[in-house]
């Protein structure tokens, strides 16, 4: 695969390097220093930073505004966009807005249902779904046209991503679903957090058999546990999450003061094992409110220094 956009993330993976991304959740307020502090922790150890879009349906500073802050800091953002809150007019408008700041990566998502957030009485939009949003960005970029058909002056140049959850049900359609996302236009995939490595390997094997890993960069998602409590919470309370019993046990069997360290060990071991897996093109490290540990994870996993590309 060769790079089609100015995205640094795309160029790195197109050159055959493992890509590394992390994420930055915008604050529940308007203080830009919060964003800058989080982003500085990630400087130099990741290729691009995902900015979440009102994650868990809780109101935060907008993803686009936060991406602009990162861009102005000389860092590369991945604009996350959910289809929950905006119709096709607003989505296309924000894509142009992002493109006007030369934001070169977008991740297309449907978004958590609003009943999980702080405004459960709100309406949801879902004019498009996540695949249709990916298709829309590709049409805007590749054909230089809006969904309505009119021409775009200076079309967006965006590397188009989508999420995949190899662990959600029903498992049998997980790979066909990935195929659909790629057909819709997804060029990179960031997966749900991986704890069940065997199941993930089976998913990748099936994706490889269908030739999907030749058409799309799969970035394996990882999240370090801070504690045994977090492992149990993720296992029992987070929809679509697959945390095997032995992983929870490993955390629970560790003395409390050593649990954070053990969580990082599991994360690093996961990356090291998956680095060798054919079809994995990179890693998406989601250290939730624990961004300061990302440099350590990246270093211990042998992913430093990050490659330079033109």
């Amino acid at each position: 695969m060769s790079a089609k956009t100015p995205s640094k993330l795309e160029k790195i993976m197109a050159a055959g390097h493992l890509g590394v991304t992390s994420e930055c959740g915008p604050p529940r307020g308007s203080d830009p220093e919060v964003i800058k502090e989080k982003a500085e922790l990630l400087r130099g150890c990741v290729d691009a930073i995902n900015v979440t879009d009102n994650q868990t349906s809780v109101v935060r500073t907008s993803s686009l505004a936060t991406c602009i802050h990162l861009k102005m800091m000389g860092m590369e953002p991945v604009l996350q966009m959910v289809t929950r809150d905006r119709n096709r007019i607003a989505l296309q408008s924000d894509i142009l807005g992002a493109a006007s700041f030369d934001i070169h990566n977008v991740l297309c998502l449907s978004g958590d249902h609003q009943s999980f957030g702080d405004h459960p009485q709100g309406q949801n939009v879902h004019d498009l779904d996540s695949m249709q949003l990916a298709w829309t960005v590709r049409k805007m970029r590749d054909e230089g046209r809006f969904l309505g058909g009119d021409e775009i002056k200076r079309p967006p140049q965006m590397f188009v991503g989508a999420a995949a959850n190899p662990f959600a049900d029903p498992f049998e359609i997980r790979v066909p679903r990935l195929a659909k996302k790629i057909e819709a236009g997804a060029e990179f995939i960031q997966t749900q957090c991986i704890y069940n490595i065997d199941k993930f390997e089976e998913w990748i094997r099936q994706a490889r058999d269908r030739g999907l890993t030749e058409k799309c960069y799969i970035m394996a998602g990882v999240t370090p546990f801070k504690s045994a409590g977090m492992a149990k919470y993720m296992k029992n309370r987070v929809p679509g999450m697959d945390v095997p019993d032995e992983v929870v046990k490993r955390m629970s069997d560790t003395p409390k003061e050593k649990q954070a360290e053990e969580g990082l060990n599991i994360c690093v071991e996961t990356i090291q094992r998956l680095k060798e897996l054919e079809g994995v093109s990179g890693f998406h490290i989601m250290a939730i409110e624990w961004e300061k540990k990302v440099p350590e994870i990246v270093e211990r996993a042998g992913l430093l220094p990050r490659p330079e590309v033109e």
């Binding site: 289809t83 249709q132 029903p170 057909e183």
Partner: protein, 223 residues
């Protein structure tokens, strides 16, 4: 059918507490089947209102009850032509269509809703009605195994399921079936999983609520 649910009687009392002559108007169609606005419910609501007025010591209050074959049809609504203007208010316990059509027809009479109109649905069992259709105006059931993602998926995804589908259930409620799990099970049962592989086009929502108030006009059946 159109499924409705009873409004709390306190809310209805708040509407009519200053009225002295009230007509409770039931409907023999959908709201009768879902036991929210038929003849039986008209009687119950009228009794409750009479009791309220009596308890308040309002002796001159009069509450009548009547149930029409349909409130969404001129023909049946004409049946109250001679009496409608005698009332301070009509409490219609038909669906929102009946309430509005009654109000349109009797322009000078106050009409209050006595039910909350909920959705287009089916009777799963006595006392349990569930949604099946959102009347989007462009039916896609041919491609989704006869199960509608617009009405049954919480995110109305056309290319589902989302990552929150777990053990066949929706992420928003463990008792709610994941529509896309149902669709996939059905497509498998009718040997049409090939339909799942097809990317669903972006929907034209102009036939939905988004396009403004809709009408169906059929010249072939017009007189």
């Amino acid at each position: 059918m159109i499924v409705a649910d009873k409004k709390p009687v306190e809310e209805i009392i708040e509407y009519v507490k200053d009225c002295r002559k009230v007509l409770v108007l039931g409907c023999n169609e959908c709201v009768t089947v879902c036991e929210a606005g038929g003849k039986k419910e008209a009687g119950m609501l009228a009794s409750a209102l009479r009791m309220y007025y009596a308890n308040q010591g309002i002796e001159d209050a009069q509450v009548d009850e009547r149930t029409l074959e349909r409130q969404c049809d001129h023909e049946y609504l004409e049946e109250i032509r001679d009496i409608a203007d005698q009332y301070d208010a009509i409490v219609s316990i038909a669906c929102g269509v009946g309430v509005q059509f009654t109000a349109e027809k009797y322009h000078n009479t106050t009409v209050y809703p006595g039910v909350n109109t909920c959705f287009l649905g089916a009777t799963e069992q006595r006392g349990l009605w569930t949604e099946r259709c959102q009347a989007c105006g462009q039916c896609i059931l041919a491609y989704t195994g006869g199960i509608c993602p617009v009405s049954r998926c919480a995110k109305r995804l056309f290319n589902g399921p989302c990552g929150g589908s777990s053990d066949g259930k929706c992420e928003i409620n463990k008792e709610l079936d994941c529509a896309w799990q149902l669709i996939i099970d059905r497509l498998k049962a009718i040997d049409r999983l090939d339909l799942y592989e097809k990317l669903f086009d972006i929907k034209d929502w102009s036939t939905d609520r988004a396009g403004g108030p809709r009408k169906v006009q059929r010249e072939d059946v017009q007189i």
